[in-house]
């Protein structure tokens, strides 16, 4: 085995710095959590606009989806962090700066809201009209129908796709180090600068991400599938 290869597989250094790397990973999880909440709520809003009876609402919803689905994560991140504060500053005539964490949550949340909107919309459109008629016939309000009849079914239907989106979003959190959010990758780079041994540290980071994502997604799938299958004839 060549020295370089041996070195890149030697994870003792990664283990040595585990405390600081662990802190970084917590940032990944935090960015993921907040961005996922933004993506889900904004995505649901956009989906409801897209299936609205009123044309202007549908146009706004479609613009939202197309804009954010077609924007690369990285560009959005940089734009939200550096350009958006300038624009807001111009409008309110005051210097504005976003904390990197906030920029990361907004950028990733909105990019993924485009994808989630499409997943929600596809799910909403598969709910048979009769299901909604039954709700209306019993005097349920449109809001109640949305929360009690439409969404619980939509969530089950979109679950496999949503899990994939969550995984992509979690992976996407690794780019937030570019705007100095102290996540795992950021901390890895810091350690590398100190130790000058990038290979084992990058390998360790890659393995960590892989194991976490693999473990979470397989557990989520196993649990969700049983629950989901109940309603599907």
């Amino acid at each position: 085995m060549s020295d370089a290869l041996k070195q890149s597989l030697d994870l003792s250094m990664f283990w040595e710095y585990r405390a600081i790397l662990w802190q970084g990973l917590i940032f990944n999880v935090l960015v993921f959590q907040f961005a996922a909440s933004v993506a889900l709520s904004v995505g649901l809003g956009a989906a409801l606009l897209r299936v609205n009876r009123f044309l202007p609402a549908r146009i706004v919803g479609t613009l939202h989806v197309e804009l954010f689905r077609n924007a690369p994560d990285y560009i959005m991140l940089v734009w939200v962090h550096f350009v958006l504060p300038l624009l807001i500053g111009l409008v309110i005539q005051r210097r504005v700066e976003f904390h990197p964490f906030i920029s990361a949550v907004i950028a990733l949340g909105f990019v993924y809201s485009g994808y989630f909107a499409e997943a929600f919309r596809a799910g909403i459109q598969t709910i048979p009209q009769g299901n909604l008629d039954a709700g209306r016939a019993f005097g349920m309000s449109e809001r109640l129908i949305l929360w009690r009849i439409t969404l619980p079914q939509v969530v089950r239907r979109m679950l496999p796709e949503a899990l994939n989106l969550f995984i992509s979003l979690f992976k996407a959190t690794t780019i937030v180090s570019l705007i100095a959010v102290p996540d795992l990758m950021y901390n890895v780079s810091m350690v590398i600068q100190q130790e000058m041994r990038p290979l084992p540290l990058y390998t360790g980071a890659a393995l960590t991400y892989f194991l976490i994502i693999f473990a979470l997604s397989s557990t989520a799938r196993a649990f969700s599938e049983r629950w989901r299958q109940k309603i599907l004839a």
Binding site: P128, G130, N131, D133, A134, G135, R136, A137, F138, G139, M140, S141, E142, L144, R148, I149, P152, Q153, R156, K230, I231, L232, A233
Partner: protein, 257 residues
Amino acid sequence: MSDVPRIRIADVHKSYGPLEVLRGVSFDVHRGSVVSVIGASGSGKRTLLRCVNYLDPPNSGEIYIEGEPLGSRIDARGGRKPRSLAEINVMRRELGVVFQQFNLWPHMTVLGNVIEAPIRVRKLPRKDAIAYGEDCLRRVRLIDKKDEYPARLSGGQQQRAAIARALAMRPKAMMFDEATSSLDPELTDEVLSVMRELAMDGTTMIVVTHEMSFAREVSDRVIFLHAGIIEEEGAPAQVFDAPKSDRLRQFLSKYRK
């Protein structure tokens, strides 16, 4: 009060674009009586039921539930004002609907389907809703399936669950929209016998049906709808045994084999 009909359908018109589906339909349904609506497909039967609870609001005419107009409110000066959707929802819950396609909510158990509207719409305490819901499931002989999901039930069982769901709202009247038309022949009987029992218990019912023997046996009054108007109506014996109009005779001949 007893002379106020439970449901009055007054000169209901409904068009979809240029297509006039209902051209002025009026009849009363009295408390405890069963009115069957028969007619060929396309005669407007289904639209009529959808107009009665405003799933498709009529273009003109009105529905009265115990004298109270469903789609409009009469203000102090006697003028009519259309009701808001929220007000219509309050009126609607008095009418239980059973759909041809059952329309059970697939993500809820049978009991979940039955107690949903009583809890969320009638604001019944959960305990009471469950107790009454289970009574309703006993009436349709489905209590042993209360924890199953609809996908695991036969069509006949699903339809009986849907009947229990409508009963659980304690409606002033039940409406059946071809409740057996999407069932296999061997499953229609279990649904019809439940409907028959409801009728004998004094439930006020409007039944849109293709089951002529059921209509003859159970109804107090039969209405034959043709091209959006009532072509003929009367007691079952009269409508089935001595039809006056040619169209009704023609229609009935298809059911006599």
